[in-house]
């Protein structure tokens, strides 16, 4: 069954939500740019994964969620993380391995979150976070907490995993308020969608799970706000799980180590290859919601904020292996005989 999300009423609020989303998109893009620069300068351990091209989708989701909702972002969701409430400092501290960050140097880059705030730190195994979101939603049902939703994010490649299938089916059987956002960005690392799935459209998978499915052009912020916002509302109002298939093109490599030479020019030159940030900016200027000078002020303020955060984190202590508590279990009373 296919369902379209109910439209958000179009009016003055359109410019407000568009501008709010744009500012998170811009923050995410500039933060990503900084991480890429730090990576090239050898200042970041491990990989850097950018959300370039996915900001409209991600920011729309983050904005549609309330602070009491659950959010399990993936690697290209810097915009959604910021919109959900993550601080730039948390992001920088995690990338730079600061012991003061939420992951304390024990995990890094995009593997960050604050579980007690409903913000889940992804593990690398794709699809594995969806059922964790389901579990929080089931726990809330036990606790008779209503009106909250859980959102999980994946790419097209992750729809091929068993974990995705099991968790989607689980959410459907339990009629959970899960919003599953799939960024169909045409490549899973280097593998094109033709080698990933054979259905005409990923949205077809929703039929099999018996859940509401929505498709959206993720290069278009206006469309993302409408469709993603509508799906979140539908889940919040008892409509059960929602699957969103968002079409876009990844405008970077899988990570900064990848030059993405395999992305074919036909896709780059298609409407999918549009940069959602530019499209959103053009809409803003065309509608005259704010002028170019204001956009420049926003940009320079964000850059300053990011630079200050990076400078602060660079002065912070790195984790110390000698004072680190090398204990993997919470039960302190068992730790002595637990360690090998």
């Amino acid at each position: 069954m296919f369902q379209t999300a109910p439209e958000i009423s179009l009016g003055e609020a359109v410019s407000d939500s568009h501008l709010a989303a744009y500012r998170f998109m811009l923050r995410a893009r500039l933060l990503d740019d900084k991480f890429a620069a730090l990576y090239r300068a050898g200042k970041i351990h491990g990989g850097v994964f950018l959300g370039r091209g996915q900001e409209a989708l991600s920011a729309s989701l983050g904005l549609a969620l309330n602070k009491t909702d659950v959010f399990a972002p993936l690697i290209r969701d810097a915009a959604g993380r910021l919109a959900f409430g993550e601080s730039i400092l948390d992001a920088v501290r995690t990338y730079m391995g600061s012991s003061l960050g939420p992951m304390r140097g024990r995990d890094g880059n995009v593997h960050r979150g604050r579980p007690k705030d409903g913000y889940l730190p992804m593990i690398s195994h794709l699809g594995a976070m969806i059922s964790v979101v389901n579990g929080i939603l089931i726990a809330r049902r036990f606790k008779k907490i209503t009106g909250t939703v859980g959102a999980a994010c994946l790419g097209d490649g992750a729809t091929s995993t068993g974990a995705f299938h099991e968790a989607m089916n689980q959410a459907a059987v339990e009629k959970l308020p899960l919003v599953m956002v799939v960024a169909d960005n045409q490549y899973a690392y280097s593998t094109p969608t033709a080698s990933q799935f054979a259905c005409a459209d990923l949205a077809d998978k929703g039929i099999g799970y018996g859940i509401a499915t929505h498709s959206v052009d993720a290069t278009d912020l206006t469309a993302c706000l409408k469709i993603v916002g509508g799906a979140v509302t539908q889940a919040r109002n008892g409509g059960g799980p929602q699957l969103i298939i968002a079409k876009l093109l990844r405008l970077c490599g899988h990570g900064e180590h990848d030059d993405a030479h395999y992305i074919v020019p036909e896709l780059k030159n298609s409407t999918l290859g549009r940069d959602c940030l530019k499209v959103a900016e053009e809409t803003i200027l065309r509608q005259n919601w704010v002028d170019a000078a204001q956009l420049a002020v926003w940009r320079s303020n964000i850059i300053q904020e990011i630079e200050e955060a990076v400078a602060q984190v660079q002065r912070e202590p790195a984790p110390d292996p000698f004072t680190e508590e090398w204990r993997a279990i919470a039960s302190e009373h068992l730790s002595e005989t637990h360690n090998a």
């Binding site: 939420p102 992951m103 304390r104 024990r106 995990d107 593997h111 979150g113 604050r114 579980p115 007690k116 889940l120 730190p121 593990i123 690398s124 195994h125 594995a128 976070m129 969806i130 059922s131 964790v132 979101v133 389901n134 579990g135 929080i136 939603l137 089931i138 726990a139 809330r140 036990f142 606790k143 068993g162 974990a163 099991e166 968790a167 089916n169 689980q170 059987v173 204990r327 993997a328 279990i329 919470a330 039960s331 009373h333 068992l334 002595e336 005989t337 637990h338 090998a340």
Partner: protein, 322 residues
């Protein structure tokens, strides 16, 4: 209650946990009205409406769901229909549940029940012993109760502690093992038990093999040998002190496990005793495990595949005569 079985003890422990703690719920295949493949949740769905939930056949999503519920403050018990199928949920157990506390400082109090071990006719996919592979991963507690009393008290403790627990309950013990009553107090998790005292040889083992070792000890005592048997109870944490103290008394060590030998619990015990207690040993430590093949179906093959009282006694004699 008299003549309570190992299986009934597991059911009673779950009923107790559900009764005492509103955070507890059970999730697994056929655990609801049907009462579970082995009836370990018999009548619980009726006694605790809404808190004993049938799951789809989705081991990965079952464990992932438990982790999420634990983050939100619940204490889920997951029943794997057979330990063998837990490998489908392996990723969530070892990468999600086991890493959560270390990565985020948020604990993950879930209990994953694994009906494990061989029974006659079980075959390759309904007989496996997976304790070693779970113990290998940091962040998990791995328990292997050998008695009715431990099945009850350790399951209660598993639900109460703040870490993910892999609770290995032996299917062979489900119906055969009986006790007069359930215990009101017990050794804590992390402490091994001397199941039989002796002076000539230490056998370190756990779960169903404790009973095979006890039978072997009876056979050996007819020849004048007094064998000490250490029941590990928990694989991780591992009570090395009790093992070492026993080896200090006897000077000889035989480790017995129903699991496959490669990189397993018996290897770990021998490594520890060899490294930390080399001077205590009067002979090279030995181990006896299942054969390094999948678990066979036919009773004749199965009986020869895993250690038995007879093969344990033979291995012990070799060591005693050195």
């Amino acid at each position: 209650m008299s003549n309570i079985t190992y299986l009934e003890a597991i059911r009673e422990a779950q009923a107790h946990a559900l009764r005492d703690d509103p955070r507890v719920f059970i999730y697994g295949q056929d655990v609801g009205a049907f009462g579970g493949a082995f009836k370990a949740t018999k009548n619980l769905a009726k006694e605790f409406p809404g808190r004993v939930m049938d799951s789809p056949i989705s081991e990965d999503a079952m464990v992932g769901m438990a982790v999420g519920a634990a983050i939100e403050g619940m204490r889920p018990i997951i029943e794997m229909q057979f330990a063998d199928f837990s490998t489908v949920g392996f990723n969530q157990i070892v990468n999600q549940a086991a890493t959560l506390f270390w990565r985020t400082n948020v604990s993950c109090p879930i209990t994953v029940r694994l009906p494990f071990g061989g029974t006659s006719g079980g075959g390759p996919f309904h007989s496996q012993c997976l304790e070693a592979i779970y113990a290998h991963y940091p962040g998990l507690i791995v328990l292997t109760p050998a008695t009715v009393e431990d099945a009850y008290s350790m399951l209660l403790e598993a639900v109460a502690i703040d870490d993910p627990v892999v609770f290995c309950e032996h299917k062979f013990l489900y119906y055969h093992l009986k006790a007069d009553k359930l215990p009101s107090e017990a050794l804590p998790i992390g402490k091994a038990r001397i199941a039989r005292e002796g002076r000539d040889l230490t056998i370190v083992t756990y779960s169903a093999m404790v009973h095979e070792a006890l039978a072997a000890a009876v056979e050996l005592s007819a020849d004048g040998w007094e064998v000490e048997i250490v029941d590990l109870r928990s694989i991780k944490p591992l009570d090395t002190d009790t093992v070492m103290a026993s080896v200090a008394r006897t000077g000889k060590l035989l480790c017995v496990g129903e699991a496959w030998p490669w990189g397993g619990v018996t290897a770990e015990i021998i490594a520890r005793v060899s490294c930390e207690g080399y001077g205590l040993l009067d002979a090279a430590p030995q181990r006896l495990n299942a054969k390094d093949t999948p678990v066979p179906y036919h009773p004749n093959l199965w009986a020869a595949h895993r250690p038995t009282a007879r093969s344990i006694a033979a291995a012990a004699r070799n060591l005693l005569n050195q």
